[in-house]
């Protein structure tokens, strides 16, 4: 790996470790391997959002040409958000694509992602299904996002209604994650979800 990239990552790693945010436990970063090409980030769900109380883990891959090209980042923790794929965790964010600037750092990336959780852009969606729900049935969206935060990111709220519906599908032999994804997509309509799964 290019010398400049390693040097930059090392410095940025330190920057994150020394930052105020880490003291407040809102962002975190750790190494995955010794070559500094892959890191693991973690952001806390921002307050007053459906993601509050959750911890979201990110995969960060540093390209050879870093910092002249952006790092490749995706969510490992599953999340229900218009700009993040509910299946792959791929992120749609300008600074990770065309608007990347060489002077940006891992800290700015993590903080930007946190900001994205607080302010979704449903008109520029990564996940069309989620974006549709966000715009059309916002209350259901908030419920679903909270439920996912609870199920995958250790969020504090429990949703017995959702859980029982998932359990019904599990009893039919459906995988828990598939059941949750389909129910979320079908606005928690059990009949439609069943139809979708078994037709």
């Amino acid at each position: 790996m290019a010398n400049m990239a390693v040097q930059r990552i090392k410095r940025e790693f330190k920057e994150v470790m020394r930052s105020e945010e880490i003291v407040q436990c809102s962002i975190k970063i750790e190494l995955v391997n010794d070559s500094w090409t892959e890191l693991r980030g973690e952001i806390a769900g921002p307050p007053d959002t459906p993601y509050e109380g959750g911890k979201f883990v990110l995969e960060i891959k540093v390209p050879e040409t870093y910092p002249f090209n952006p790092p490749k980042v995706r969510f490992i923790t599953r999340i229900w958000h218009p700009n993040i794929s509910s299946v792959t965790g791929a992120i749609c964010l300008d600074i990770l694509k065309d608007n990347w600037a060489a002077a940006m750092t891992l800290r700015t990336v993590l903080l930007s992602l946190q900001a994205l959780l607080a302010a979704a852009e449903p008109d520029d969606p990564q996940d069309a299904v989620v974006a549709y729900q966000f715009k059309d049935k916002h209350e259901l969206f908030v419920l679903t996002a909270r439920h996912w935060t609870n199920a995958y990111a250790g969020g504090p709220h429990t949703f017995p209604d959702c859980d029982s519906k998932i359990q019904r599908l599990k009893d039919m032999g459906v995988d828990e994650h598939d059941a949750r994804a389909v129910l979320s997509k079908e606005n928690w309509n059990l009949e439609k979800a069943t139809e979708c799964l078994f037709s």
Binding site: M4, Q7, R8, K10, R11, T65, P67, F68, N69, A101, A102, A103, M104, T108
Partner: protein
């Protein structure tokens, strides 16, 4: 009339030995030549085919002109011209009005600086000083970008040399470097030389040239050409940068367009930026000057794009349609269409029919040619969604079939000409006329191709037209043209030398129909 006679007399007197004075071809008498070609021919288009060198010269002249007026570097002039469609007058005028705003919109300067406020009263004077400074002293190194960024002390290389003993951290590579290795743009974000260079190379590698921006976050100040070329030293990268930049310059110039022909280096120039046909003198590709696609009169650029996308999307249906054969409506023998004409004669039963509608040709020939018109189902609003969808598909297929049919005929043009040549050879061998007697057939074939081409592009136009009297008129004219073309095609294929007059008459009629249609419906001509 009196004056005409006088003039003729005068000219007779002037030319002393001018015995064979041509009474029939004096300029005064000839109405046709006096007609403005722009009016006579709806497709008239003036253009030049230039080489890369010609264009470089042309652009450089514009840059130099601006340099002398505003006293700025070529690099800066290029950016300003690029942002203003290479219109010198607009740049100069904007500069005189508010030079600061001009520099901000051209992304030479960041949106708000202290200098902008201070200079607002005497904008022109202050900004001219800035222009000079940005232009002449190159890119200020770190020493000059310290707090007094917008002061009037110009940052020259002397100051940086003095301060070079100091070291500082480059925010990109995170290494400590001597001060004189730092460069910054008007925004004041400074980075070390190596980082700029690597950054430029990665950007150039991705095909970005004049749009390269500052490396700082949220800063979109543009990196002008001279800094890139100062720092990037690898010849390959420099060449690439200059090639990409040249492409961007040409694309931003409203009077220039790259010839879309494969591997063609020609650039076409025309003062009139309209959807007319330009023909490359080098590779002979014909294309629409405005959008660079195949020439498409009377349809306009947006509609033809929509149509072509639609055709590409519906490739399955298109496949189905492009089954090349049809059955003879009378004896049901399978027939493959191998030439241009829609008037088919079954080789088996000698039945004459129309290839498009499979109707009897007799009803087509003279009266009213209905085959090109699509008949809407009048009760469509009351039908179910399913029927509506089927009706929409039917409508599309109607236009598509006709479009595709003419396109195929055009592709077979070379074959038609070859066959024509063969036929002429046989005729000449049999003593029926000389080779020269038959030449008119080739010009007839060329005209036929031209008419067919226009006719092909009338179908997307009709498809997107709102139903109404204008559409009726259009389809009427389209049908007329279609009928005349078929007549012409039929006559060419069966021409004898003695029928020259008849054929020429037919050619004239077909071309008149074509120009009338274009005059009435080709949007550019309508506006002009």
């Amino acid at each position: 009339m009196d004056s005409d006679i006088e003039m003729e007399l005068e000219s007779d007197n002037d030319g002393e030995f001018d015995d064979d004075y041509d009474y029939y071809n004096t300029g005064e008498d000839c109405d046709v030549e006096r007609l403005d070609p722009k009016r006579a021919d709806p497709e008239y288009f003036e253009f030049d085919c230039l080489t890369v060198e010609d264009i470089e010269k042309l652009l450089n002249e514009l840059v130099e002109k601006l340099n002398t007026i505003l006293q700025i570097t070529p690099s800066l002039a290029k950016v300003l011209l690029l942002e203003h469609q290479w219109n010198n007058n607009v740049v100069v005028e904007k500069y005189r009005q508010d030079a600061n705003a001009l520099l901000v919109t051209a992304r030479i300067k960041p949106p708000t600086t202290a200098a902008a406020d201070a200079a607002s009263t005497s904008a022109a004077a202050a900004a001219s000083a800035q222009l000079l400074r940005i232009g002449s002293s190159g890119y200020r190194t770190a020493a000059a970008t310290l707090p007094t960024l917008s002061s009037h002390s110009s940052g020259n290389s002397l100051t940086t040399q003095v301060q070079s003993q100091y070291r500082r951290m480059c925010p990109v590579c995170a290494s400590s470097q001597p001060n004189d290795k730092f460069y910054s743009l008007a925004c004041g974000h400074s980075f070390c030389k190596d980082c700029w260079t690597t950054y430029f190379e990665t950007q150039i590698f991705q095909g970005i040239s004049i749009q390269i921006g500052c490396m700082a976050q949220q800063c979109n100040v543009r990196v002008p050409e001279d800094l890139v070329l100062t720092l990037v030293t690898r010849p390959v990268m420099r060449d690439k940068y200059q090639q990409f930049a040249f492409k961007d310059y040409v694309k931003s110039h409203p009077e220039l367009r790259f010839c879309p022909g494969p591997n063609c280096q020609i650039i076409v120039q025309s003062a009139e930026n309209s959807a007319k046909r330009a023909i490359c003198k080098s590779c002979h590709t014909g294309f629409c000057f405005k959008c660079g696609m195949d020439y498409h009169a009377p349809t306009d650029c947006q509609i033809i794009k929509k149509w072509l996308t639609k055709c590409a999307d519906d490739s399955e249906t298109a496949n189905y349609i492009s089954a090349h054969t049809k059955d003879c409506p009378k004896c049901h023998i399978c027939i493959e269409k191998n030439g241009g004409c829609n008037h088919m004669q079954c080789f088996n039963c000698k039945h004459d029919f129309c290839w498009m509608c499979l109707g009897d040709w007799k009803t087509h020939g003279s009266e009213y040619y209905e085959c090109s018109r699509y008949k809407d189902n009048p009760n469509i609003a009351n039908e179910s969604v399913h029927v509506q969808a089927r009706e929409a598909l039917k409508k599309y297929l109607h236009y598509y079939e006709r479009w595709e049919n003419h396109s195929k005929s055009l592709k077979l043009e070379q074959q038609t000409i070859d066959r024509l040549r063969q036929r002429i050879n046989t005729k000449v061998m049999n003593g029926s006329g000389t080779w020269i007697d038959w030449q008119y057939l080739f010009s007839a074939a060329a005209l036929l191709a031209k008419c067919r081409y226009t006719l092909q592009y009338t179908y997307p136009y009709a498809y997107y037209m709102e139903p109404g009297s204008r559409k009726n008129l259009f389809e009427y004219q389209q049908a007329q043209l279609e009928a005349e073309i078929e007549n012409l095609s039929w006559k060419i294929e069966r021409a004898e030398t003695k029928e020259l007059g008849d054929l020429e008459n037919q050619m004239d009629i077909a071309e008149k129909r074509r120009t009338t249609l274009l005059k009435d419906f080709f949007p550019i001509i309508g506006k002009a």
